[in-house]
Symmetry: C2
Subunit: 373 residues, 2 copies
């Protein structure tokens, strides 16, 4: 420590920069490269397709894909031209992963929990019930060993993953039934996919699968009693406030869902170093832009919902505790069956514990004692 | 709402993307540009200097500057070569702003509160006591009107600002005196610069100005009773745990300090569109990378400090409330005297209120009920 302190004060180098694996290939030798190239870059042009899991022009999430494409095009002087397809425009949303694997498209956008059926470990890079929030997930993936594991997993599918956004913590959902105790979940027909649905089922609920376009009518007609979606901004656009009695919080099932870009590895590997760096930096920029827009637009939309009298409720704490127990059971089943999922979850959970300890004396105190509305 | 909902479900465009001004110039016409350029970019080379306010090779913050330079070099195929100078290597740290204004260097890195003496409004783009945290500051600047105001302010100095990192919420500092009540602040000699120091003074304390290299000795010899610095990672490197009795939290005075790049506007304006986009995307990427590394390394360093028995204390809530009152007085004095500062603070505060309301039912609940260490 003393040595470090002295070096620090003297302004000496403190060892190497700890960079995610994805960065290493694109760092460091910029000067050498520029001197050999003498500032001239290849004019080879790449025409790429991006297939996404989002509806065409989906606010923020789909816009982030177009922003990525525009920025890459601009930075590369048009050398990578990426045409963005909404889900269903070129292939159905959930075929994006296999489409990029096959090379029929060069890049995709989604959230890695969509690929849990192909690789159970994948979902831990998107969202875990009672998991980390956006700031912690970013810290784990960029700086806590996450990206290295994610790259290892996707390499087997011939893909390169990159963080490309975050929803922030979501809302608990819209309910037409009051939730005052764990018993009120019994028989509850709720549209809630993924791990959240499995957890609800263990608590006695009935998770229902409904595509985005069917939720409004399903909730209006009583086919379902409840639905989760995203946050105030996207939920308002769906019109749920007109047909649901209660808006519950918090979104225990999606505490900070990371969005991703995945690139066909063969295509990526054959790019020159400058274009690889352009893709990586565009993804990083879009990542923070997306979370920031979610935060900004959700804050404004919540104020509007409140003005219109939306009844906002909190889940009882006993219910939260019960769902936490079921979450542990669900995760245990996954990690028991899949060694790589176990490895990823161990890294995730070890980091989460440290980040939570740190948050307990920093961000938690900020929200409890420092910020006042 | 109904129309929106229907358009939404039909996948139609929902109006224009709300983008910060900084983005507008570099978005949108990528295709047109690429077709006229036919993929060929100018080979003109730019040799730039970056002057920073950080000690040479300063962990994370200085590394972020080098990462920015490396990424820009790589993305541009060496067409922008940025040499990074630590504070004092080319000019003293606090001359970075004027050095870039004059054109003697093309780009600088710092935190905008360093320039409060030149423009009182500047500090609101870095950190405000009892202000927003990193996630909220990013949302305000990228998506809540912040960047437009910041660009307007810096334009008068011939500069273009960009977000380039965030420290996250900092710690309250290292104390050799127990703080159990507001009275314990009376006469407290504490190294705490900027607005935090003014607030401490109003509470009866004695803020002391000490350069980074003098703090350790000052605290060891009792010249000061307390000091703030950053968080567990950087504080440990300074060795404060060896000479201070208590480590207090939370950092009410710096709740999420934004770091910046500022570019000489004449130099920026004469860059081709691709290089402008490269600078903007590198800054966005470095912004989220920096916060993520702070979070990751602070979490690890806190665990180490705890293992070594560091005595971590929380400020009493009455003291927090008293400092909040004095903060309002200090800000009132600034906004009374400077109309532009008033405009910026009104935007900041209006956004903060909405973001806090939203956080109350999302992130606050996450830290209180969802995350468990």
């Amino acid at each position: 420590m003393k040595l470090n302190r002295k070096s620090f004060l003297k302004g000496l180098a403190l060892g190497t920069i700890s960079l995610p694996l994805a960065m290493r290939g694109i760092m460091g030798t910029g000067h050498a490269q520029s001197s050999s190239d003498e500032g001239v870059v290849s004019s080879k042009k790449y025409n790429w397709k991006m297939v996404t899991t989002w509806p065409p022009n989906f606010p923020i999430l789909g816009e982030a894909c177009q922003m990525f494409a525009d920025q890459v095009n601009k930075m590369s002087g048009g050398r990578i031209d990426i045409r963005v397809y909404g889900g269903g425009e070129l292939v159905p949303p959930l075929e994006a992963f296999d489409t990029v694997r096959s090379g029929a498209a060069e890049i995709g956008s989604g959230a890695s929990y969509y690929w849990a059926g192909k690789a159970p470990a994948a979902q831990f890079f998107a969202s875990v019930p009672f998991g980390m929030n956006a700031q912690q997930v970013n810290a784990w993936i960029y700086g806590g060993g996450g990206i290295e594991l994610w790259e290892e997993l996707y390499r087997d599918f011939g893909l390169v993953p990159m963080l490309g956004g975050n929803t922030g913590i979501q809302m608990g959902g819209w309910f037409n039934r009051e939730i005052n105790s764990v018993d009120d979940l019994k028989g509850l027909k709720m549209r809630i996919p993924g791990l959240g649905g499995k957890v609800l089922e263990k608590a006695g609920g009935a998770p229902v699968l409904l595509a985005g376009g069917e939720i409004y009518t399903g909730l209006e007609r009583g086919v379902i009693d409840a639905t989760e979606w995203l946050g105030p901004f996207h939920d308002s656009l769906m019109g749920f406030q007109d047909i649901a009695k209660y808006y519950y919080t918090p979104g225990w099932h999606e505490t900070g869902t990371a969005l991703e870009f995945f690139i066909n590895k063969d295509q990526y590997d054959r790019l020159p170093a400058d274009l690889k760096a352009i893709l990586q930096n565009a993804a990083g920029h879009v990542n923070i832009w997306c979370l920031s827009m979610m935060e900004a637009k959700n804050a404004i939309a919540l104020a509007e919902l409140k003005e219109k009298g939306t009844d906002i409720r909190s889940f009882p704490i006993e219910l939260i505790e019960q769902l936490r127990i079921h979450t542990r059971e669900v995760i245990q089943e996954i990690t028991d069956q899949d060694p790589f999922a176990k490895r990823v979850y161990e890294s995730y959970e070890a980091f989460r514990k440290k980040a939570s300890d740190y948050a307990d004396i920093t961000e938690r105190m900020f929200y409890e004692n420092i910020q006042l509305s």
